[in-house]
Structures are given as C-alpha cells and as structure tokens.
Symmetry: C2
Subunit: 137 residues, 2 copies
Amino acid sequence: MTGLTKLEQLCEDKGLKMTDQRRVIARVISDAEDHPDVETVYRRATEIDPRISIATVYRSLKLFEDANVLVRHDFGEGRARYEETGHHHEHLIDIETGEVIEFFNQELEIMKERVARELGYDLIDHRLELYGRKRKD
Amino acid sequence: MTGLTKLEQLCEDKGLKMTDQRRVIARVISDAEDHPDVETVYRRATEIDPRISIATVYRSLKLFEDANVLVRHDFGEGRARYEETGHHHEHLIDIETGEVIEFFNQELEIMKERVARELGYDLIDHRLELYGRKRKD
DNA sequence: GTACATGCAAAGGGTTTGCAAACGG
DNA sequence: CCGTTTGCAAACCCTTTGCATGTAC
C-alpha cells in the first residue's frame, strides 16, 4: 500500500476536501526536489493524470498556500514558484543556471529581527534572496 | 532659470536624447519622496504634461534603468516601483499602509557577501525586504 | 535630414474568474 | 444529495510591441 505523502496527510488533517486532482498536485510538490513554478507543476501533474487543468493547479496551489502547507516564492521572474512548508531557509539563485540553493544563517535571522525592531516594527515576513555567479577558481 | 534636475543632467551626460517626455518623467522621479510605481509616475507626469502616454513611461523608465540612473524594485505587488539610483539601502515595507522605509545595516551587507562566498558564489545582486507591522506600545 | 522617440491600440505573459457540469463526504 | 470543485474559455492586470507619425540633434 502506497501511503499518502506528508503533504496529502497534512491537507486531510486540515479538513481540505481531497480530490484526485489535489492529491496529484500535492504529490508533485512533495516529490519535487526543486522549487517548481506553476507551469512545471502543471506539466508534472498532467503526466500523472491528464484530467487536470491549469486553472485547477492555480486554485489548488493557492488553497495549499492559504492552508500553510506550502510556500509561494516570487524570485522576480514574473511567475511564482512553490515549495513545501518546512524548516525555514533562504535562497541563493544562480543567475546563470537559475538553480536555487537553500541556506540558513542564524546571524542573518537575528539581524533582520533586530533591524525591524529598531525601526519600530514587528517583523511579520521578509524576503532575502542572493543572486550570484558560481566562483570559477 | 530652473536648472535641470540631477537626473536630467545624468541622462544628458550619458548621451541620452532628452525629449520633453523624458524630462518630465525624470523630474517626476527626482521629485518623488516615495517609491512610485509606473502608474503613479504616469499620473504625475501627465499632470505636468498630458502629451505623455503610458507606453512612453514604460519605455523611459526602462531606458533610465538600463542607464543605471534609476533602480527598479519588485516588492511582490505585481507591479514595479522605481527610485533614483543613489546610496545603497534596503527596504522595510509596512504591511498595513504600504509605506516603504529605507534602512542600511553594514553588518547585513557583510554577511550577505560572506554567505554567498561560503556557498561558492560571487554575490552579483540581492534582495532584502522586511515586511512589518508598526509596533503599538 | 535621419535615426530615433512617440502615441495608439493590439498583443503578450502570468493569473483569475464565471459558468455549467462533475464529484466528494 | 448538496455544496464544492472542475474544465473551459474569457477576462484581468501589468507590460511590451508594431506601426505610422513626429522630433532631437
């Protein structure tokens, strides 16, 4: 028996009605090692089950995002990318390949909080992306 | 005699052909205390001179951006905002009012560089935005 | 003069939505 | 069953572009 993915389980726990389409989309995200955009999720989903429309992909991803089981990223490419909610991390984007590298730096986290506080704000969210070129030496 | 704004002067120095429209758009940005989006630049520009189309605003802003006299920002609102190129700073966006507060923190700058280097990359660009709510105490 | 800039409206890319039909709990 | 979800296509928003006309240098 092939169990549910963690994402599917999470969705069920949250009481979301799980249609075949939503299950497939949840699995695609679960299986993704990258940070796929909507078009990519759509492509991968229809490979598994062609009865899925792009509109449903948009609607499901938004639903999952609102349920906090999924995080949407906007890397300034004009389209959104998604990944499963998990441990917090930042992204470094390789400007030559588009590859996305995850990293986490505790000091950076602390400093963001501090800067916001010093400006009189509670930090609600943030965005930190580094764009770099692989060092060739 | 009303002198040229710094931005107009910069554009002329770079050899850009300065039409009336471009001058008005440059002045609008120069006078802006905020980080106006294209629509706002268009509105302010047409108040000064109605002979300006939105297409020209887009084209001029892009031209100025390519000439590095202007910086484009994407704060994830689905539309671009612009500001004059100047001293480097980051932005904190008030999630309730949309107000943009500028800040600079040397430690953060150093750490971004370091993180990229440690991952084997040369830092080419970055994006750091804090989204906060004004502390009410 | 002539290459370049403009206005207009149409096209473009990503995303959302109205509606009737299909479906999950 | 009945409210929800879906597919489809049209609509949307921001931005870009083709073309004929106008203009800075």
